[in-house]
């Protein structure tokens, strides 16, 4: 049985995983619903909430994809990452908020949710890219093991990578547009030119470059996978840095 689990041979494993995932995401949705309705807005006001919402988005996007395209191999990365995120959320007892509730508005709510969805899309592009590179290595080194048999085609992984990056770019762009409108209304300033603003703009340009490069057919495969991996890391680091280390958090916006 253990061998089956490790090699992914047993057909019951994906089924059990997906069922558990659906159950988990339903409960998670319920908890988010209670949180948001009790507070009256959907703004993610702390790292803890951000991470929790990220885990939820990751699983939701994966389940939709699984339903439409049968890509359950992604689950072996999505579920553990979502689980670790939730463990982190449970482990954080005191949570510093990076937003004063007084600054919340519908624009900020949309900003926080969209940026989190963008990060989830970037994470999925990152996972897909990892699988791409793994399968590419198997094909080149001629390693034919059970995992090789389970992986979908390079073409499929490459297409998913492109789609997730595209989704990530749209979420990121919309998230930034909403915060720019809010910033203009509040501070009469469209873009806060500081460390945070510059990093956010860099990430946006990176994703813009990815999307544009993918439009030209010659940028694909391994190069695209490496770029996705790098973009995701930069995105995740920026989010963490903006919220944790760049003094003042979002509150100075």
């Amino acid at each position: 049985m253990l061998l089956d689990v490790l090699s992914g041979r047993s057909k019951a494993i994906p089924w059990a995983g997906i069922t558990a995932g659906v159950g988990g995401v339903l409960l998670h949705t319920l908890s988010l619903f209670i949180l948001f309705t009790s507070r009256g807005h959907v703004t993610l006001i702390s790292l803890k909430e951000s991470v929790s919402f990220f885990a939820w988005s990751l699983v939701i996007v994966f389940l939709i994809l699984e339903h439409q395209r049968k890509a359950h191999i992604l689950g072996i990365l999505v579920f553990p990452v979502a689980f670790l995120c939730l463990l982190f959320v449970l482990g954080v007892s005191t949570d510093k908020t990076f937003l004063h509730t007084s600054t919340t508005s519908i624009l900020i709510s949309l900003h926080s949710v969209l940026i989190d969805l963008g990060l989830a899309s970037a994470a999925l592009a990152f996972f897909v890219s990892c699988f791409y590179l793994l399968l590419d290595m198997f094909l080149r080194k001629k390693i034919f093991n059970p995992l090789f048999n389970k992986l979908p085609s390079l073409e499929f992984l490459d297409r998913l990578n492109q789609e997730f990056n595209g989704m990530g770019f749209i979420f990121l762009t919309l998230g930034l547009i909403f915060v720019m409108i809010w910033s203009y209304r509040t501070y009469y300033m469209i873009w806060p030119w500081g460390k945070k603003g510059s990093w956010a703009l860099l990430i946006w340009f990176l994703y813009l470059a990815t999307v544009l490069l993918r439009r030209g057919k010659s940028f694909q495969g391994k190069q695209a996978a490496y770029l996705s991996i790098a973009s995701f890391f930069l995105f995740a680091i920026t989010i963490l840095a903006v919220n944790l280390f760049m003094g003042g958090g979002h509150s100075v916006f």
Binding site: L139, K142, F148, N149, S153, G221
Partner: protein, 460 residues
Amino acid sequence: MAHEGRLHLLKLTLAGVNHKTTPVDIRERLAYPKEHLNDALKALSSREGILETFILSTCNRVEILTVTSHVSPGPRFFLDFLQETHPGLQGINLHPYLYHFTGEEAAAHFFEVSSSLDSMVIGEPQITGQVKEAFERARSMNLAGPMLNQIFQRAISTSKRVRTETGISHLPVSISYAACQLARKIFQDMRDKSILLLGGGDMAQLTARHMKKMGVKSLTLMTRDTQKGQLLARDYEAGHASFEELEQRLVDSDMVVCSTGADSYLIGEELAETVLHRRRNKPLFLIDIAVPRNIDPAITRHSSIFLYNIDDLKSVVEANQREREYEALQAKEIIREELQAFARWQADRSTVPLIQSLRTHTESIRLAELDRFQAVLATLPPEAREKVDILTRSLLNKILHPTYHTIRQSSDIDEVREWVSKCYGLPAESPTNDPPGQTSEAPDPEALPSPTFLKRESPA
């Protein structure tokens, strides 16, 4: 039905030779040509004690399954039969090649054969069809009775379960299919892909046939001999091109299968670089099954090129075979479950005659007793007489219920029969001596008792 009354005494025996026990030079001489199979079956069924039988003869095995009453025929019986029906093998000792199973072991082996777990290429689908054909032949000659019917139905349903519940037949084990498997790891959908065949060797043709089945968009054949190439291309509904167009065709294709007799590289570093540049780095899947090779292995330094030679394809096949062997272990579990179900069927069927005779016996006693008190009962009103009838019947059923239950649960029907006969004074069973071969019509399983052959027996 000739042996209907003593089904519980039937014995299942299987003997045969296969690719694991017997070298091909003996196996090929032991195989029954189709036109001789009927005669062999007739000869076998005319032997004393044989009630049902069938012979499975393929290039890898000859298996003989028999149903007999009371005693299982030993290996000598089958050796004599094989020697007699193969005069050319006189003087050759077949004993070391023959395996012989009875009871549960025979059923288990038959299930494994039908499910292709015992095949040379594990999971190959032909064997199930061959088993069906062999059974149909026996049935058409009235040599398949209730026991063979049951074991055949279960063997077929076992093979279906093995095929659907395990991955035993998912991974290809031929070189040409392995090429298709690799193509599916690179491309998502072959229906929008173009394939170029360089040379029209057998392997290239096989690959072309598989690719056609996968629905590839276009297939182009490139041969030096234009006339021959065009004829071949027509067979596969493919286009034909000359070698002068190689560069352009490489640019347009997604997969290339190379099998020409050229003694130098047809696709070298320079050509690969030009082609990749023109393809804008779109992946190109190359299979070089030619010896000497037609494609320079150095071109694999390009990240868009995936190149496989004949040895690589062989290693794919070997890996798939290992996977199939693993799946065969899973399939053994299915066979174990099906054997248990078969044993339950056997047990159920074997208890029916005993329960029936006990019921008949006690019912005759009840009727006799009611008859004895006929004078008294006649004085009662009809409703009261009916009540007495119901009461006695119900009393009898209540008393006998634990006995019926014990009979159904028993693992040793012979012992229980003896015990029940002593306790209830059942009349002794009268054995019949029907001639063999008269077991043609399959009885209604609900109405018929059946044998208990599932007690393990050591081979004679």
